[in-house]
């Protein structure tokens, strides 16, 4: 069990990286605390699997260091890092039985056979593999095979961390939640540091206490699922988290306020000062579809808009609204009435976020916190 500290870590697959585009992982410093359940979330190709393989030692980072409990492990081989990793496709030793598969890591460590037996049975019990222990492993279903893969990580008491690389990709949807639940139980029971790589935000937020969201080789935000939802600190986080993602509107400052493609959004004095201080023209206004208010009647703050169409998803509705030149998604509860044709929308000020060069401008309230 260990705290994993990535210190000034960067990685490039090119032997002689020159441009920032040569890097699969950009320089980062990050700490995974002992006993935490973390998700590493991001789209395909953002470097999350590379980062995981660096932690387990399968990939050697080109820059910076990986530390387990303060000890640098860069030059320690995967075998000796004492880490467990579960891969996207289940890896099982198909010439062995389920029992022998689970016992394999222990036997490699020359553990006494009596201890092996009790440990294997304990893990098989947790993973519901008890009644197939003596079967050959190669004829089992994908989820059983994946459970065996996980089991091989769990039989070792002293494992520093368990890393999951999209482990549920090949599992049937109806079994996914069961296995996820299992993982959660295992985490609670053994208090092992777990890092779970996925591109599925639902998977990430059900499994993890804290999510690290990766984009183009960088961890752009690290926080609880709620923090990522309410306060995305990068436009990509806003776009990636949520269903549908955050509405992101390019804006220009003018005398009257913020110009959002033909519509003027009024700014408070404080907001205006903040935006002017950024010194950039690349400004974005972001608001979650959940927080946009629609009504048929105008009020002081409201913006005139046109309803385009409504998708009823059974439990909620997604309304597409035309605001000036921008198309905005609004998420409404099932019972809420959708005005037809021309309507008015409000952006409640506590949910409006401003981004300069794609990064969140911290509002003054937060700075005082």
């Amino acid at each position: 069990m260990a705290e994993i500290h990535l210190k000034n870590l960067a990685h490039s697959y090119a032997s002689d990286p020159e441009h920032t585009t040569d890097y699969a992982i950009h320089e980062m410093t990050h700490v995974w605390e002992q006993g935490g359940a973390y998700a590493l979330l991001g789209p395909s190709g953002c470097g999350k699997s590379t980062l995981l393989n660096i932690i387990s030692g399968l990939v050697k980072p080109s820059h910076g260091s990986v530390m387990f409990d303060g000890v640098e492990v860069n030059n320690i081989s995967t075998q000796d890092r004492n880490i467990a990793q579960v891969f996207q496709f289940p890896v099982i030793y198909d010439s062995m039985t389920v029992y022998d598969n689970l016992a394999f890591p222990l036997r490699n460590m020359k553990v006494l056979e009596s201890e092996v037996d009790s440990k294997v049975r304990e893990v098989a019990d947790i993973l519901d593999l008890g009644d197939i222990l003596l079967r050959k492993a190669n004829n089992l279903s994908a989820d059983q095979k994946q459970k065996i893969s996980m089991g091989r990580g769990l039989v070792r008491d002293d494992v520093s961390a368990i890393l999951f690389d999209e482990p549920l990709t090949v599992i049937d949807p109806n079994l996914k939640w069961k296995l996820r639940r299992k993982l959660k139980q295992i985490h609670e029971r053994y208090n092992i540091t777990m890092v779970y790589v996925t591109h599925d935000q639902l998977e990430a937020s059900t499994f993890a206490d804290k999510i690290a969201l990766m984009y183009e080789g960088k961890i752009v935000q690290f926080g609880t699922p709620r923090e990522l939802f309410e306060n995305p600190n990068h436009t990509f986080v806003g776009y990636f988290i949520g269903s549908p993602g955050m509405n992101l509107l390019k804006m220009q400052l003018s005398e009257k306020g913020a110009e959002l493609g033909g519509v003027t959004f009024k700014l408070s004095l404080a907001q205006r000062m903040q935006l002017e201080n950024t010194g950039t023209n690349n400004l974005t206004l972001g608001i979650r579809p959940e927080f946009v208010q629609l009504s048929a009647t105008a009020n002081d703050e409201s913006l005139a808009c046109t309803i385009q169409h409504t998708e009823d998803l059974g439990t909620y509705k997604i309304v597409t609204v035309l605001l000036g030149e921008n198309s905005i998604k609004v998420r409404l509860d099932e019972e809420q009435h959708v005005p037809a044709g021309d309507a008015y929308m409000n952006f409640p000020s506590q949910w409006v976020r401003f981004y300069a060069d794609e990064y969140l401008i911290n509002s003054s309230e937060e700075e005082t916190l």
Binding site: Q79, F87, Y93, S95, P105, L134, K136
Partner: protein, 296 residues
Amino acid sequence: MNKTQNNKAWFLVLPVFLLVAFSAIIPLMTVVNYSVQDIFDQNNAYFVGVEWYREILQDPRLQDSLLRQFMYSASVLSIEVPLGIAVALMMPTRGAMASLTLILLAVPLLIPWNVVGTIWQIFARADIGLLGYVVNGLGIDYNYANNPVDAWVTVVLMDVWHWTSLIALLCYSGLRAIPDAYYQAAQIDRASNWAIFKYIQLPKLKGVLIIGVLLRFMDSFMIYTEPFVLTGGGPGNSTTFLSQTLTKMAIGQFDIGPAAAFSIVYFLIVLLVSWLFFTSISQLDKDKSKGTNNES
């Protein structure tokens, strides 16, 4: 909907049927035909039943060469298979070296069999051959033309040189087909190199090994050209294998009847042993799982 009945389609099978008939069935039946008759000339043929079979099975010359044949195949297989696997494991996996190794390994396979025999005949000669000269220079008395043991060693060595590449190339392709994740998982499970070989590589090589062992068994069991060119079957009869004995009988002495009976027996032996190999290797897994069940 009415299904169209058109039995003319059967004519389309005819070419294949003819091909198989002329290439396999008819020649084989001719041999069967000869094996049950005693033929003096075109007009004098007598049906003798299993007489020839009884005779050849009791012929000590044939029994001896059958025994030699089994010993030869066994020694060739027991050297080439482990060696081929070892070579495949040591081959580089990428880069220019990988291509170079593949080409070098393929070279012996491309050499015609009688050329291989000639190469070794000269290479191993005690007086002018590099190998023979060096071995004698080391103080070992070596002469494949006089000493049966030396002749045997040379013949086996020649086959190993010629055919280990085949096993190595087959295993190499088998090894390349193993996904990286298996090796990564094994590293994480702290498997030793031996354990990786035993539990990942070897099981995954099973398919190509079945093919390799079968091919090598059949080929070595029917070997003719190379030992014939190298030693001519000698000294004495020490490296005379089955097909050479058969050729002598059929062409040299023109004993068509016994030679035909012998051919049939030969064919059945190859078939039987190949079947035994195939079933035992493909059953290997089941036996193992039973073993483990009993243990735990």
